[in-house]
């Protein structure tokens, strides 16, 4: 069968060669031109996922010294960025929650309280997914919620692609994860990546509590909007969910009493989050994350084998490579050249610039990994700030990272959408039609919060 990935790989090679072999434009250094060639390659490969994202990052980080953009030592040292270690620690903690069964227990106990009616059950799914995505990556939440939702759909004898309630169940799961995943640094690694790029460029940081303060209201509003939109567009054709109640009761019973391992993981998770909220300014996000992860091993709550089952080590390569690429664009002046050549003529005020950056991020994230959006857009957004528009780098971080997490439309946009779609209870046109509406509402709500709430926090 014809495989579209091969021509895309060839296209990436052609584009990189074309940029490298072209005469260097005025105002751009040779190193900057090479950095732009690598950026173009990453854009094609991250968008198309022709090869795994982490492999694209690996190629990028090898090309940086090879093309003379930065020294080998400097390029590889960026893998040791603290944002990478924060992400790694957060993934290990999430792995502990999944391996011990704690994540499923919390979700089931939560969901069990919402099994009164079809609408209540949808509310339960949105709320429990959004709540769980505050504590662990949103796609991990989708992964353990999916079999539960699938079993509910089967018990209710919903007809795939025909049942409105079937569509509502899976889309609420995906969208609940999406809206929860933006609220904390744990919901999506892109948030930590954005902070990592911020630290590399400006030496500034955003604490765990500051992030939550700035974004949590958005999650609350969007969770409510998801409820309303799902009820409006997918009116349930059933009037009782008794079979779903039976499924949930059975699953809760199967879990039995909370195990010692679950209790240990819960304690470590709560203590780690408390440290993040109260002490991240003094101790550092990454140090706390790694200490939390290490504690899980020390108290025998998880093993390396568990971690290997639940964490893909490519995570280090992806985020290390993304930070290295951002650094290369900055130090070679490539991002500055892009901005002065193409974007400076559009003189925008701070709010208009924030709106444009958010719009670009929310559009791009529908077609590519949200971490890739942060890696590609944030360095350029920072250069735009340096032209003196009066927008703070911290506001730019939120303007890129938060909309980058709000992919409601396509399965390609984010793993929760892809996981939900794999059940084939809804068609692409269902998520497209309603997802676009959610994108618009999400962007407007985000801008409203930025304009009227962030000034009270000193962000905007």
């Amino acid at each position: 069968m014809f495989n579209i990935k091969t021509p895309l790989l060839i296209l990436a090679v052609i584009v990189i060669l074309l940029i490298l072999l072209s005469p260097t434009p005025e105002g751009l250094t040779r190193e900057g031109q090479s950095a732009l060639a690598i950026l173009a390659m990453c854009f094609i490969l991250w968008t198309s996922a022709a090869i795994p994202l982490s492999v694209t990052s690996l190629v990028a980080i090898a090309l940086l010294p090879l093309l003379g953009v930065m020294g080998e030592g400097e390029a590889f040292a960026l893998f040791g960025n603290r944002a990478v270690f924060f992400i790694l620690g957060a993934f290990i903690l999430a792995g502990g929650m999944m391996a011990s069964g704690l994540s499923s227990r919390i979700a089931l106990v939560f969901l069990r309280r919402f099994d009164r009616s079809p609408k209540w059950l949808i509310s339960g799914i949105v709320t429990s997914c959004a709540f769980m995505a505050l504590w662990m990556p949103a796609h991990a939440v989708a992964a353990f919620m999916f079999p539960i939702v699938l079993e509910i759909a089967r018990a209710l004898e919903l007809r795939p692609r025909e049942s409105n309630y079937g569509k509502a169940l899976f889309l609420s799961m995906a969208w609940g994860c999406v809206v929860g995943g933006v609220a904390t640094l744990l919901g999506g690694a892109r948030n930590a990546l954005a902070i990592g790029i911020l630290a590399e460029k400006y030496g500034m940081s955003i604490s765990f509590a500051e992030w939550v303060m700035a974004v949590f209201p958005l999650t609350l509003v969007l969770a409510l909007v998801v409820h309303l939109v799902v009820f409006r567009f997918f009116k349930p054709e059933i009037d009782n969910v008794r079979p779903a109640r039976v499924v949930l009761e059975r699953k809760v019973k199967e879990l039995g009493r909370m195990s010692a391992t679950e209790k240990k993981v819960l304690a470590v998770m709560l203590i780690t989050v408390a440290f993040w909220v109260l002490l991240s300014g003094r101790l550092g996000l990454a140090t706390i994350a790694i200490m939390g992860a290490a504690t899980l091993f020390i108290i025998h709550a998880i093993t390396w084998h568990d971690v290997e089952k639940y964490v893909n080590w490519g995570v280090i390569l992806m985020y290390g490579g993304a930070i290295a690429l951002a650094k290369a664009l900055e130090i070679t002046g490539a991002a500055k050249w892009l901005v002065t050549s193409f974007l400076e003529p559009f003189q925008l005020g701070p709010f208009a610039l924030l709106a444009v950056i958010s719009l670009i991020s929310i559009i791009l994230t529908e077609a590519m990994s949200n971490a890739a959006v942060v890696a590609l857009v944030l360095p350029i957004a920072f250069e735009l700030l340096d032209t003196g528009v009066g927008l703070s780098p911290i506001a730019a971080v939120f303007a890129v990272a938060v909309p980058a997490g709000l992919a409601f439309t396509l399965p390609i946009g984010t793993p929760p959408n892809a996981i939900a779609y794999s059940a084939r209870y809804h068609r692409l046109r269902d998520s497209l039609r309603v997802g676009i509406l959610l994108n618009i509402i999400a962007l407007l709500t985000f801008l409203f919060i930025a304009r009227f709430y962030w000034p009270h926090l000193g962000i905007f």
């Binding site: 069968m1 014809f2 990556p137 992964a143 639940y310 893909n312 399965p411 984010t414 996981i419 794999s422």
Partner: protein, 162 residues
Amino acid sequence: MGYLMLVLSPTRDNPKSVDLALSLVKKTQRPLLAVFIADLRLTDGISGKVVDIGFLGDSVSTHIEEAVLKDYEARGRKELEEVKAKAGALGLECEIMIRRGYYVDEILKISTEREIEDIIVSRAERSNLSRKLLGSAVNDLLEQAPCPVMVVDDSSVEGHEQ
């Protein structure tokens, strides 16, 4: 006398194909073999998303794939029982089968295991460009099938002699 094979899958379940199969079986008095294929191509993408983009471990994607395939099979069993009941009501002989594997490979395997005279498949509405660019399992089947294949689209029925 050989079988007429009706192939259903999670994304290709056009009721017109069932009606066509039953009317042909009735006309030719051949036995019907109704097959549901839990297509692994549909779950292959999950691993890409969960492992390569979500950076979760293999066991997470395996867990999801297994849940999806089980659901497909349960769904297939139900659809096949419905086909069998319809055939029974018409006094027609009907055998049902559920297979897990790649769509084209499984159809070709069954074609060699059993005496299949004709195959009926349905396919989702897509543009020819999308089929060329992204590939089409039904097109691949048309190239490789050892017997005639009838393709039921949402709007038409195409016959392809081998």
